[in-house]
């Protein structure tokens, strides 16, 4: 897998890595250049590597199945420098995702994008998709959710009941009480980051807008968000009008945690996401005429188009 590292953005402050598709190469310059790439959005405050290298492994998996990808850090996160721009956190994220898409379009010729977003990345994906028609698919993990009546029963049953029966949990609770003052750290503030969910009505409108535009959405929920999502069919209880919409796919994995810490869970997630993206990409590519081979834009070993140099100040190529 060939990876090219970029510093880009309006202030040359954003950092990202492009992973080239392993299927089709310079040896086959006449082949059609895929115009669709996957864009992995920043998850919370984690860098472009993703939790437990999730984004790196996903990039490898996608590359092996013929899909290019780009993972990058929003400003102020990971390696990207904090240079501000106005607007809400999500609006700013959307603008920076658009700067990434501009780079990729100019540098590699992609003009359709599929987003992968975990946690706040899922929220950012929706906002960006609403703003930019180049986005055709989005796989959203632990995105927005709204409590239903049935959710509370699930919460009690799945979260609190096992804890009540757990001797270990009681032990932790009591030792926590005793050592509370010692564990309150001055250098590890917690709980101050805020997810920005739209109201349920607004979410309904936004998702409807997207799927009416033909955007395909895949919602994945884990036990990491059990406080607002706790059973398999909850998505359709939240949004009954989507029950028969083919543009939406939903899966629930109560055995997984929010950051898929375990290899087996992560591999399963990567397999599912790769499968979904490759299927969707194939459909999208087949719907367009493969006439543009864009030989002049192929970057095999770190070369850079002159146009791209305006956006990208440094690149560095890696062979994985």
């Amino acid at each position: 897998m060939i990876e090219t590292h970029h510093v880009f953005g309006n202030y040359e402050n954003l950092y990202g890595i492009h992973s080239k598709s392993n299927v089709g190469s310079c040896d086959n310059a006449s082949a059609a250049i895929p115009k669709t790439a996957v864009l992995m959005l920043t998850a919370g405050m984690l860098s472009s590597v993703g939790p437990s290298r999730l984004h790196v492994e996903l990039a490898k998996s996608l590359s092996q199945r013929g899909l290019a990808s780009f993972r990058f850090d929003l400003s102020g996160i990971g390696e990207s420098l904090a240079v501000g721009s106005p607007g809400s956190s999500q609006k700013r994220a959307a603008r920076e995702v658009q700067q990434a898409m501009d780079l990729l379009e100019l540098e590699y010729g992609y003009d359709r994008f599929m987003l992968f977003g975990l946690c706040s990345g899922a929220d950012d994906a929706i906002v960006t998709a609403l703003e930019d028609p180049r986005i055709v698919c989005a796989s959203l993990m632990d995105g927005c959710g709204y409590r239903t009546n049935r959710h509370y029963a699930g919460l009690l049953l799945r979260k609190y009941f096992p804890k009540l029966l757990s001797f270990r949990k009681w032990q932790d609770y009591l030792s926590g009480l005793l050592s509370k003052s010692k564990v309150a750290s001055s250098t590890m503030p917690q709980g101050l980051d805020i997810r920005e969910f739209p109201s349920q009505e607004q979410a309904l409108r936004e998702i409807t807008t997207l799927i009416d535009r033909g955007v395909k959405l895949r919602f994945t929920y884990t036990s990491g968000v059990i406080d607002y999502y706790s059973y398999e069919k909850q998505f359709y209880d939240m949004f009954p009008s989507f029950k028969n919409r083919a543009e939406i796919a939903v899966s629930y994995h109560p055995q997984w945690d929010h950051t898929v810490m375990l290899r087996e869970d992560r591999h399963q997630l990567i397999e599912n996401v790769t499968q979904w993206f490759t299927t969707k990409a194939a459909t999208i590519e087949s719907e367009t005429t493969p006439s543009n081979t864009r030989d002049d834009k192929v970057v095999c070993s770190g070369g850079r188009s002159s146009q791209a140099s305006e956006l990208s100040s440094y690149t560095s190529v890696y062979q994985n």
């Binding site: 990876e3 590292h5 970029h6 510093v7 202030y11 040359e12 402050n13 950092y15 890595i17 860098s47 939790p51 290298r53 790196v56 929003l74 400003s75 102020g76 996160i77 990971g78 390696e79 420098l81 904090a82 240079v83 501000g84 106005p86 607007g87 809400s88 956190s89 609006k91 700013r92 706040s120 799945r158 979260k159 096992p162 757990s166 270990r168 932790d172 564990v183 750290s185 250098t187 590890m188 503030p189 101050l192 980051d193 805020i194 920005e196 990491g224 059990i226 055995q255 945690d257 950051t259 810490m261 375990l262 290899r263 100040s313 440094y314 690149t315 560095s316 890696y318 062979q319 994985n320």
Partner: protein, 913 residues
């Protein structure tokens, strides 16, 4: 003889040396703890033995009574023992503050004819050793000191020998050395013991820097009575908001504290609604006029009996010469400075050196055997300051010290301070002669004339400089930078008022009344300062100001440039939520680090002003863009680079030095990451550190080991040996890329000199630290290990414990999870890699060769890095940042480490070759 309650010691009477009193105490309590430092204890016998070795070393090398010996060390047990050793030899110690500019240190060394300096190895580079009269240095931990006998010396030291020389601000442009003899020190200590009723079960905190005479008060009297001195490390000195914690956790009973710190502490007690720690029985505030309001607040928060004193004393009277102990019901508009201590006398005289009537204001003079010998090499100043006066009723003239303070006797017999006869001032309890600052300013080619004054705004004292320039475009920032290179930080004015000429009276003197207000002066900022404009900006500015503890924040000021950290971000956000009723995510703050950008951001997300924002869109966007460009120019031009090694490609980011006026160091730091979840926890911190260091003029390279982060490489191949090889490759790469970056900067004329080869230092965190230590790297300047893994098997056990906890605690998962093998807390950990991890024994396998060796530890760091277990060359620096590597529940938590970052920057930027 010494039990008298009045000043009965004559000028010729023998009092004895301090060393003789200390030795008597050693015989009484040889096994009591004399010094405590970072969990280690030195008994009186230990302390005495080691001090004797130092004294014998000095005598063996030909040092004699009155010879001056420098001490350039951080606060530590060793520093105290070194002071005692020098005293026992009959020589005099001269504290040399490593925070001082090199020029100032060079002046002191020259002025005091210092031939030998006990110097922490980290501070050697502060001195020029090229001249023929250059001093010699000895590391206080040098083993040759231990080759000497530990028995008491038989040296006959007259008590008129010099004990130490303490340098204070001098009005002529150079500091002046106050010479204190043994008899003065002894006299003072006896008076201190008597007044404060020091006891053998006291535990006195050594909090002050060594060149401040409060340190004398903290160290020497307690060691006369068999009590313990508990030393706080130097780097913690400014973290006064943790003072209560420090007092409680160390069971401190006695605290001597500069008034400025005491005020801050009281404010903190009030804000946190907490009480004075119950262990304290004695608190002495000294150095500046006491705020009665603070004293009232203190009483409200003090729920037990504490002997509280307001102490007064210039360095020329050793330490304290008068003290006021308010009784339970005391209350008045002003707090007096009290009555003279045992063996001291106070006199308030008029211009003709005649005693004034009670209640009349005159100048305060002090007499007694504790007066200094005088200023070193300043006969003219001695004549003015130390005078002989025939006092009323006396037949012999008495030697008096002219304090320069105005005072009057109160009916109670106490003295009330009324101001200064000259312009000397105290800021932050530091004594400052504005003349010294003016003299340094006059050496600046751009300055024609200047005047420095002390001013006050909203209770906050500051220095202001009125300047007439020769060069019209010289800025406040440039002036402050110039001064910073020549004066201690506390002597650099924070406001600059530029005038065409200084207003003069008819007699040609500067007309101070006609000067514009000091608070209108320019703050030395890299860019011009712009006040907050809107109500929202002003509110934000006030919050930043209080969190950052700086008087005012401009709308273009960058939070992180002003010293903000991730921790402080959360405080700002918490205050914003409380005071402005707006909650924003942390990442929004990181992306909007100026008042202007943050306020625009808040406005844009608040629906109610959207129409106004639209109207102002063009201007607003243009302004935003300009600000972002300005901000960007201060940040490094980060370069992603790839480092080939053993068939892998290591992903790295190079941060070239930012050429924003700071000196280019031609020095590159290579940062070696922690492993797995610990790397994730520390990643943002290290990125911030890299940015800060590049802004301080260093090049920085961060890289990922093979098979981690964005680097290539398979998990099946990873091993500690492979990663050691990665480190070697990264260091070599750093040498080249940093050299090229410097060369490039020279071509662009951003820096002047690239002829010297690039200096490379290395910093490692946790496993990265252990890998660095056990890698055969040579030609390294400084090596810094931060919370290193000392024993690999214990580390592996810890990871396994954490992993098990994550699977079984029902916090991460809803049910107990089983897991595939060879993975730990989210990261691949093949068995072969685990074996290689377990084989690490840091201190047994150390291979790195460097010029300086440092180990930093966070507050909760439980692995053994005690000074005993460290190899001799390694210097241990404990820090207060809390990280909890070994506690459950923190494996996913990022942290900030303001103190560690500060220490790292200090280590790397001090005395660069």
């Amino acid at each position: 003889m010494l039990s008298c309650s009045e000043n009965e010691i004559s000028s010729t009477e023998q009092i004895g040396t301090y060393a003789s009193y200390f030795e008597r105490q050693v015989l009484k309590t040889p096994n009591s703890v004399a010094i405590e430092f970072e969990g280690n204890q030195w008994t009186y016998a230990d302390t005495n033995s080691q001090a004797n070795q130092i004294a014998r070393f000095l005598l063996k090398h030909g040092f004699q009574h009155d010879d001056r010996v420098g001490i350039c060390m951080d606060r530590s047990a060793t520093a105290i023992i070194t002071m005692l050793g020098i005293l026992k030899s009959g020589c005099a110690f001269v504290p040399l503050d490593p925070e001082f500019p090199k020029d100032r240190l060079a002046f002191i060394v020259d002025d005091a004819s210092i031939q030998l300096i006990f110097c922490d190895s980290a501070y050697r580079d502060l001195y020029d050793v090229s001249g023929t009269n250059a001093p010699r240095f000895i590391d206080p931990l040098d083993t040759q000191l231990r080759d000497h006998e530990t028995e008491d010396l038989d040296a006959d030291i007259p008590d008129t020998s010099l004990a130490y020389v303490m340098y204070t601000s001098g009005s002529t442009g150079k500091p002046k050395g106050v010479q204190i003899e043994h008899r003065s020190l002894t006299t003072y200590c006896l008076a201190d013991v008597e007044l404060y009723q020091l006891r053998s079960d006291d535990r006195t905190l050594q909090f002050s820097t060594l060149n401040f005479d409060i340190a004398i008060e903290e160290i020497f009297p307690p060691l006369m009575v068999g009590s313990a001195v508990v030393v706080r490390p130097r780097e913690r000195a400014e973290v006064f908001n943790e003072l209560s914690h420090l007092v409680e956790s160390n069971a401190i009973t006695a605290l001597h504290i500069a008034t400025a710190y005491w005020n801050e502490w009281v404010d903190l007690l009030v804000a946190s609604e907490s009480s004075v720690p119950s262990t304290l029985r004695l608190v002495i505030a000294t150095g500046e006029k006491i705020s009665v309001e603070h004293y009232r607040r203190w009483k409200q928060h003090c729920n037990h009996e504490v002997l509280w004193c307001n102490a007064y004393g210039p360095t020329e009277t050793t330490v304290t010469c008068t003290a006021f102990v308010p009784d339970r019901d005391w209350d008045a508009l002003q707090m007096p400075i009290g009555k003279p201590l045992l063996h001291y006398s106070a006199h308030i005289l008029n211009d003709h050196n005649k005693t004034v009537a009670p209640g009349e204001t005159g100048q305060l003079f002090i007499s007694g055997p504790a007066l200094a010998r005088g200023y070193l090499n300043r006969p003219d100043r001695n004549e003015q300051a130390f005078i002989h006066v025939l006092l009323d009723g006396d037949t012999e003239p008495t030697r008096l010290y002219r304090t320069g303070d105005l005072a009057r006797w109160l009916p109670s017999g106490d003295i009330e301070f009324s101001g200064r006869v000259d312009h000397q001032m105290k800021i932050g309890s530091y004594r400052i002669e504005p003349g010294e600052i003016e003299a340094v300013l006059s050496q600046c080619e751009a300055v024609r004339e200047s005047l420095v004054i002390g001013a006050e705004r909203e209770g906050q004292k500051f220095l202001a400089a009125y300047v007439v320039l020769n060069q019209p475009n010289y800025s406040a920032f440039e002036l402050a930078s110039y001064l910073r290179g020549r004066l201690p930080v506390y002597m650099v004015p924070s406001r600059y008022i530029f005038l065409d000429s200084l207003p003069k009276t008819i007699n040609g003197k500067i007309d101070r009344v006609a000067l514009p207000p000091a608070e209108t002066g320019e703050i030395p900022r890299e860019n011009s300062y712009r006040e907050a404009e809107t109500e929202l900006e002003r509110s934000l500015s006030a919050i930043w100001s209080s969190v950052l503890n700086i008087p005012c924040v401009g709308r273009d000021d960058d939070f992180f440039q002003l010293g903000g950290s991730s921790l402080l971000v959360t405080r700002v956000i918490a205050q914003m939520a409380g005071k402005l009723d707006c909650a924003i995510p942390v990442r929004d703050f990181f992306a909007n680090p100026t008042i202007a950008s943050l306020s625009r951001h808040l406005a844009s997300i608040s629906g109610k002003t959207s129409s106004e924002i639209k109207d102002q869109d063009c201007d607003s966007l243009r302004e935003q863009h300009e600000q972002s460009l300005k901000l960007r120019s201060k940040l490094p031009r980060i370069q992603p680079v790839s480092i080939p090694n053993r068939g892998d490609t290591l992903a790295a980011i190079f941060y070239p030095a930012v050429h924003n006026g700071v000196a280019h160091q031609n020095h590159c730091l290579v940062i070696c990451n922690a492993y797995g979840h610990e790397h994730t926890r520390s990643a943002r911190n290290l990125q911030q550190l890299a940015i800060q260091l590049s802004q301080a003029g260093l090049n920085v390279l961060r890289f990922e080991y093979a098979g981690t982060g964005n680097s290539s490489g398979g998990n099946d191949r990873i091993s500690v040996d492979l990663w050691r090889s990665n480190i070697i490759a990264a260091v070599e790469y750093a040498r080249n890329i940093a050299y090229n970056a410097t060369h490039e900067a020279v071509k662009k004329s951003e820096v002047h000199d690239s002829s010297s080869p690039t200096t490379v230092s290395v910093l490692g965190v946790r496993l990265g630290a252990s890998l660095i230590g056990t890698t055969p790297l040579t030609n390294i300047d400084r090596v810094i290990l931060w919370d290193p893994i000392v024993e690999g098997d214990r580390y592996l056990a810890l990871l396994k414990k954490h992993h098990k906890y994550e699977l079984s605690s029902l916090t991460r998962y809803l049910n107990y999870r089983s897991a595939q093998p060879e993975q730990l807390i989210g990261y691949e950990c093949p068995n072969a890699f685990q074996e290689s991890l377990a084989s690490i024994h840091l201190w047994k396998q150390t291979k790195i060769e460097a010029r300086q060796y440092w180990v930093l530890s966070s507050q909760d760091y439980s692995e053994l890095v005690s000074t005993e277990s460290l190899p001799l060359l390694w210097k241990h620096q404990p820090c207060t940042d809390e990280i909890y590597w070994d506690k459950h529940g923190f494996t996913g938590r990022a942290f900030s480490s303001p103190q560690v970052s500060q220490v790292i920057q200090s280590i790397l930027t001090k005395g660069t070759r």
